[in-house]
């Protein structure tokens, strides 16, 4: 590797990491947080005994999982303006990603809620709790433990998927790499550098996952 390439990699490192810090990471965190709220709502709707309510949730999940994320992103950013709704790049990306997480995580949360034994609901009722109280204080804490591994997968996928936001002009990690690559014509080096930064972020997330799992496992026999 020649000297100038090294130099380029070093000089591009800060802008790329900057793109991660000001773009990729906040985009992923915000979308995931909003997505979990949507997912919990959709999961509870899906568990409803009212047919119409669970039907709506079912259709939502089906649409989200049945269409590409890139298409969802384009519908919001490039599609909506043609019916008079203009959404800026950042809000567009956050809306698309959180709706997407909402659909995928809803099934994870639903399964986790169903995995808690029925006797736990009954114990909540017999000490006088309402359905909502039992859900929040008894069922969800136990469901959380079960759902950490699959939700971590969802989050790690999301971090990588935020690179799609580069296509709707959000300045994040990958867009920074693209711009420098186009300018310097060193595509291989810059894209591998971007890949390495994504990988490091995901390594950190994986170890955060193990810490969280250990913490939530403290009340379970080993």
């Amino acid at each position: 590797m020649n000297e100038s390439l090294w130099d380029l990699l070093l000089r591009s490192f800060l802008p790329i990491v900057g793109g991660a810090v000001t773009g990729t990471i906040p985009l992923a965190l915000l979308s995931f947080a909003l997505g979990l709220v949507i997912a919990l709502g959709i999961a509870l709707m899906r568990l409803s005994r009212v047919r119409v309510v669970s039907g709506i949730a079912r259709v939502y999940i089906s649409i989200i999982r049945g269409t590409p994320l890139l298409v969802q992103l384009f519908v919001i950013f490039y599609g909506l303006p043609s019916i008079g709704v203009l959404v800026d790049p950042w809000p567009s990306a956050i809306i698309a990603f959180s709706l997407n997480v909402g659909g995928y995580a809803a099934e994870v949360i639903r399964a986790a809620i169903l995995s808690v034994p029925k006797g736990q609901w009954e114990a909540g009722y017999t000490i006088g709790m309402s359905r909502g109280q039992t859900l929040v204080r008894v069922i969800l804490p136990q469901a959380a433990r079960v759902s950490v591994p699959p939700l971590s997968n969802t989050f790690i996928s999301l971090v990588k998927d935020t690179s799609l936001a580069s296509l709707i002009l959000v300045t994040e990690l990958f867009r920074q790499a693209q711009e420098i690559a186009a300018f310097s014509q060193e595509f291989m080096a810059l894209y591998i550098e971007a890949a390495v930064v994504y990988w490091v972020i995901c390594l950190v997330l994986s170890s955060a996952q193990s810490v969280l799992e250990k913490r939530l496992d403290r009340y379970v026999a080993h």
């Binding site: 034994p117 009954e122 114990a123 017999t126 000490i127 006088g128 433990r145 009340y219």
Partner: protein, 266 residues
């Protein structure tokens, strides 16, 4: 027994002569199977009523109807000084809540909250539902745990306890609510034989202290000692009921005799 004794039954607001609970005409089907065919049950204040009978006789379903964990198709449950809940008209949330406010249940599988410590399990209802001050609920809980020999386990998680210890926590969790009525659903059936004794001792003590209890059990010897009334059920009906000296020692009905013979011959 002093009035501040945490094991003392809650004071009652109705005249002392009336039975605490009267259930009438309880009917319940699961699909095509009619598991309860018009059950009547009277629980006098301070009495222990034991429901016995072969598996599938409906005794657990009767117990679970008394606090609305099962909603029967028909029948009424009436607590002294409370509304009558008529299951023929769909009971409201408020009505089910009133049944559950007056009773507490001990489960066969304990059903402790695994993510909370022993102490947290016990104070959950008093603090979150009854809105009692946490310090007061904690002091009561510790005293109750001490009474059943688990004072040192207050900060343990349920998985760290033996089955017998877990069930004693289950009983304390029920007592901490200061209910008028204690419901026991086969409280020793999931326990190893050597752990049954500790749990039965606690229940026996509660009986002598005057708690009103309905108990589903297979422990006939125990039932004959603690129960004021034995209710023998089979096939969704009450076959025979009365004091243990009648039902267990001198049963009138052939089905009761047959059931007792089968158990005593083992």
């Amino acid at each position: 027994m002093s009035p501040t004794d945490p094991l003392a039954p809650a004071p009652l607001d109705a005249p002392i002569e009336a039975p605490l609970l009267v259930a009438r005409g309880i009917r319940k089907s699961f699909g095509d199977v009619e598991v309860l065919k018009s059950i009547d049950l009277t629980v006098p204040r301070g009495n222990v009523v034991a429901l016995i009978g072969p598996s599938g006789s409906g005794k657990t379903t009767v117990l679970r109807s008394l606090n609305g964990l099962e909603v029967p198709e028909a029948g009424t449950v009436e607590f002294a000084g409370g509304d009558t809940v008529d299951f023929a008209e769909r009971p409201t949330k408020r009505q089910l809540a009133s049944l559950r406010d007056r009773s507490a249940m001990v489960f066969q599988q304990f059903n402790l909250f695994p993510h909370r410590t022993v102490l947290e399990n016990v104070i959950e209802g008093p603090v979150q539902v009854q809105k009692r001050p946490k310090a007061e609920a904690t002091a009561d809980a510790r005293a109750l745990l001490e009474r059943v020999g688990l004072g040192a386990k207050a900060d343990a998680y349920p998985f760290e306890l033996s089955g017998g210890q877990q069930q004693r926590v289950g009983i304390v969790r029920a007592l901490a609510l200061k209910p008028q009525l204690l419901l026991f659903d086969e409280p020793t059936s999931a326990l190893d034989p050597e752990l049954v004794g500790d749990v039965l001792d606690v229940i026996r003590e509660l009986a002598t202290e005057g708690w009103t209890m309905v108990l589903v059990t297979h422990e006939l010897t125990f039932a004959s000692h603690v129960a004021d009334t034995i209710v023998f059920m089979d096939g969704g009906v009450v076959v025979e009921s009365g004091p243990p000296s009648d039902v267990l020692q001198n049963p009138r009905e052939p089905r009761t005799k047959q059931f007792l013979h089968r158990l005593l011959d083992r």
